[in-house]
């Protein structure tokens, strides 16, 4: 798999794990391309990234150097050089996320030694600051290295990952940050060399509050939650305020965490009758939003079920004035059914024609089902999006549009081999949640998120076993994740072309 570097989020979380909550950098990193279907993290460090990592490393080192004795205590009675040595192999192992090799230690100490005498004449503190900054710019820190420090374990043409590699895979997958002390100890003891040992740690990580980063990271990418701060609608529809945006985000986070981690239920993610609402959401939910200022678990009516009937998805996947059956349907096809929709052809206009007086939104998309060029792809998206037509550009319920009843019916083709008709989302979503195709897609999504790469033949066994375990656990992702963690896909990797494996 391609060498990846830490994403911005991983970088910031890792810095906090190393130096304490609140330690961060003011450096702005370049925007990262998100791999929408592999959840891939960025691979490259070119000049601008190098520059930003240098600035951030310098800034963080400057900031923490005064408290270095707290972060990495040292008996100064033994001399400054001894402290440098202790730091490099002690705290250094946390920065590198594995023991520091002898050659690496020698190189770091040679670097330290070079700073002390003339002409540079650094003090111990200045030299340590430079060492720290350099370690934060080191490849061992910046990359998701999966070439063990030691000789690789080759088994049947595959490479079995070592304990520290597994520890990092687990912690970045579930916590979006570096391993904690317990994981490091498990790596050191050899506990992560066995499937059972990996499962035990995966379960422990899942029971920690940081596991929410996995859920919010994955589902957040589905619905494009990062776009929420810029969400705006035509003023004739609704003026979207900051309190409303915050309430929408709180609803998304509260619900996704509860459904997937507290309840452990993929089915509830799609079909739960409840949500987590607060007063500002009355703009969308009416009185059902209640008067609480904090997100409160509440049963919703209006045919709302699951995360795809909630404000964030409905408002983000819509146009400024109208709903967007295409955007909503594409997301359902892509994320819930793993059906790849080819991109639009050259020369297309992505803008739907304006609604004519008396025309319903759905009717504006009629050409997609009659024009054969459009139809090939849109027949796979639009009907899935029509299911949500009871919800307008911001997600408010509507029984009628332009004085006529809403038609939210449609058919999802070839769901587990059958064409399934639905009257609206309340029939579509349970059909997907109950289908093998939907469940297998969720297994695939989680696996891609765990591995940060596209899947291949090598991963079929993990996907199949994952689906078996997922179904046996009544679609509990808290059981799916350990199942994936013990799979060969997670614990082994295929050697890269040209890689030296002896």
């Amino acid at each position: 798999m391609p060498l990846r570097r830490l994403s911005q989020a991983e970088y910031r979380n890792t810095i906090e794990s190393l130096f304490g909550t609140g330690v961060t950098t003011t450096v702005r990193f370049p925007d990262e391309p998100l791999g929408p279907s592999t959840y891939g993290t960025p691979t490259q460090v070119s000049e601008v990234e190098r520059d930003r990592f240098e600035q951030a490393g310098d800034e963080i080192a400057t900031r923490v150097i005064a408290s270095l004795s707290t972060i990495a205590p040292c008996d100064t009675g033994k001399g400054e050089r001894a402290c440098a040595e202790a730091f490099v192999s002690g705290f250094g192992a946390r920065i590198f996320r594995r023991p520091v090799l002898a050659a690496e230690k020698d190189r770091l100490l040679a670097f330290y030694d070079g700073l002390r005498p003339a002409p540079i004449s650094s003090s111990h503190s200045d030299a340590m600051q430079a060492v720290l900054s350099a370690m934060l710019q080191s490849p061992q820190f910046l990359y998701h290295w999966e070439l063990g420090a030691q000789a690789p374990n080759v088994e049947g043409g595959l490479l079995r990952l070592g304990g520290y590699e597994i520890a990092s895979r687990l912690s970045y997958f579930i916590w979006q940050t570096m391993p904690d002390d317990t994981l490091f100890m498990a790596a050191a003891s050899g506990a992560l060399e066995t499937a059972d040992g990996v499962v035990a740690q995966a379960e422990r990580l899942l029971n920690d509050a940081r596991a929410s980063r996995m859920v919010l990271g994955m589902i957040g990418q589905w619905i494009g939650i990062a776009g929420l701060p810029a969400l705006a609608k035509d003023s004739s529809v609704l003026t979207v305020t900051d309190p409303l945006r915050q309430a929408m985000n709180a609803e998304f986070e509260g619900f996704a965490k509860y459904a997937l981690l507290d309840r452990g239920s993929y089915a509830e993610l799609l079909t739960a009758p409840y949500s987590f609402v607060s007063a500002p959401l009355s703009a969308i939910y009416g009185t059902a939003a209640g008067s609480s200022t904090t997100p409160t678990k509440t049963t919703l009516s209006e045919g709302r079920m699951g995360i795809f009937s909630q404000s964030a998805f409905l408002a983000l996947k819509a146009l400024p004035q109208e709903s967007s059956p295409v955007r909503r349907g594409k997301l359902v096809a892509d994320r819930l059914l793993c059906r790849e929709i080819p991109p639009p052809p050259p020369g297309f206009s992505p803008v739907p024609p304006p609604l004519q007086p008396g025309q319903q939104t759905r009717e504006a998309y009629a050409e997609h089902s009659t024009n054969s060029t459009c139809k090939a792809c849109h027949s796979q998206m639009d009907p899935l999006g029509f299911a949500f037509e009871h919800f307008d550009a911001v997600g408010r319920y509507r029984a009628t549009e332009v004085g006529r009843p809403i038609d939210a019916s449609g058919t999802v083709t070839d769901l587990d081999g059958k064409d399934v008709s639905f009257k609206d989302a309340t029939e579509l979503l349970p059909a997907i949640a109950n289908s093998k195709e939907g469940q297998a897609c969720m297994v695939s999504q989680v696996t891609r998120y765990a591995l940060g790469r596209a899947l291949g033949d090598f991963d079929q066994a993990a996907l199949e076993q994952g689906l078996v375990d997922f179904q046996a656990a009544r679609l509990d992702i808290r059981k799916l994740i350990p199942s994936l963690a013990k799979s060969k896909s997670f614990r082994y990797r295929i050697p890269d072309a040209g890689e030296i494996i002896q």
């Binding site: 000049e47 190098r50 070079g114 080819p342 020369g347 040209g498 030296i500």
Partner: protein, 457 residues
Amino acid sequence: MTITRRGLLQAIGASGALIPLLGTGEAHAGTSTPKRVLFVSWSNGYWMPAWRLSGTETSFTFGDILTPLEKLKSKVIVVDGLGQRVHYEANAGALGWGKDQWYGGHDGNPAVLTGVPLSKYADNLEQSGGDSVDQYIAAELAKTVSLPFQSLVVGPWSSGGYGGTVSYKGKSPGITPESDPFNLFKKIFQGRALPMGTFDKARATRKSVLDYLDKSLGQFSTRMGTDDKLRIQSHLDSIREIERQLGDPNITMACTAPDPGASFDTHDDVSNYPKALDLFGKLLVASFRCDLTRVATLTLSDAGGDNLVFSWLGSDFTGKGDEYPIRQYHDITHNAGKSADHTGRKIRVEQWFYEQIASIASQLDQTPEGTGTMLDNTLIVVTNTMGENHDSKVQPFVLIGNLGGYFKTGRSLKYPVTNGLGTAHNGILVAIANAMGVNGSAFGDPKYNQELPNLKA
């Protein structure tokens, strides 16, 4: 060391207007006047009827979009009828595209300056098929001339990755443009104002860090596979480039660094975009004038330009869009043609971009050099990753300036378009390389490595 570096920057900023620079490449280059090239590109194409000219090859009238070039008319060649033939002739399906069909539009980035189709399309993480011509020229020049910077790749409000760049080194996701002009200022001018022979501790420490990283990266990649080795090599190249730039200056030359002025937000507040672009222009002109580099690439937007709201063009350019919550560049582009107002906005935006380019060209044209001006030895290549119809089948080019008289300027040229697809645009890239004194026919797709006819003087 951070504090020291900041202190140094403040010192430069405070009196930056008249600092003699050290360590420029002039002495390395001998006495001939250097030739430089600046590529300017952005996305979203043009409203082509307003970009096109009327008249004949030598007697023509600019359309609305190009009117800002009126004063420079005798130094311009407008090239119509080229297209990304390599892109459209490639087997799209084989490269991971869903069907045997290109999206066209925003996938023009990897081909516009490389002259080869992209090598991989996956999840918006596209990779080019080879060097872009700016990087090719830069690398070739570096074989004979040692300059502080082989090239500068910059762009306000730009981003890395998909659609965010047109510069590539080999098969790669592309060089992320520097989006902060103050960072660029630091990079190219910091440290060049130190008196000769001064020992600078911060600089020496920084060199030690880079040396350590250089060795670490080398060791880190020893067992890696081929592709990962290339990734680490790109990281290593960026370290070596800085190490090289920090090489002890031993040559003095009088050259004035521009004063960047007070800093401003270059990331979130897009109303600062004109100021940022203006500063980038000044810094690039200065880096040419001081011979710090001879190749630069300026990207004016990322793939969609979704963050670009042209509030400075008036109230008609703010407020809600037709398709997006805000009337931003992508929205303006998609909706051109819908009404006279919509089309008018698209034309005005493109015209504004050309006003900024004309400003850079004028700065060069107002600086005497040899028997003419800097513009006579500098070529500005203006293009776009798209043409019309959201694709790059016909892709516009404008050349401003000259490279020591290589081109016959003051002309409007049209090349044949067949079945909607323009003449391979490679020919103009080959010509630019040749004009820069680099072997153009070794560049890009061998099928199209002939210089475009009728450009030369």
